[in-house]
Symmetry: C2
Subunit: 97 residues, 2 copies
């Protein structure tokens, strides 16, 4: 399933900047960065749970936030990209939109 | 329909920072900020088109990007929030998740 992960990490401290890097690194293991703080992850339910656990262990819930959007089977029809950076297909075939 | 808008704006110049403020301001007219560069907008098709036109007129497509995700009718079941800032219901009733 396609899961969109968006995050806000408070980077006003060195610890925050470290958390930001860690969050991005976790997400990179599961998906593709499409914007600075937005990843699209094609995962099965177990992988999704693992990602959630890993990210929950990284962030500071007092200052940082994560949002998960399950885009469902029809996710390709739900996404539209405008501007810099070409669209991509996380299933492996490049496309331009 | 619920549309998620995510954006990356290059803020390395004063013009970029101005564009960033303009993008946020446009989005605020149509929805609710849920993270720094993420808005959830409950719009009809005409409003969605208007928002797209306005944002396209603001960004610099060489350096900035927009992504739109149509979350569909079941959007509430698709969203999960973790950490800072409580979830909200753009239809008006607050909920906590």
């Amino acid at each position: 399933m396609m899961v969109l992960v968006t995050y806000d990490v408070n980077t006003s401290t060195p610890e925050g900047r470290r958390r930001l890097r860690k969050v991005a690194k976790c997400c990179q293991d599961y998906g593709q960065r499409v914007q600075n703080s937005v990843f699209e992850c094609l995962v099965d339910p177990l992988q999704f749970k693992q990602l959630q656990v890993q990210l929950a262990n990284v962030i500071d819930t007092r200052t940082d936030s994560l949002r998960y959007y399950r885009l469902g089977a029809n996710w390709k029809n739900r996404v539209e990209h405008v501007g810099a950076k070409a669209g991509y297909d996380p299933e492996g075939i490049l496309f331009l939109d």
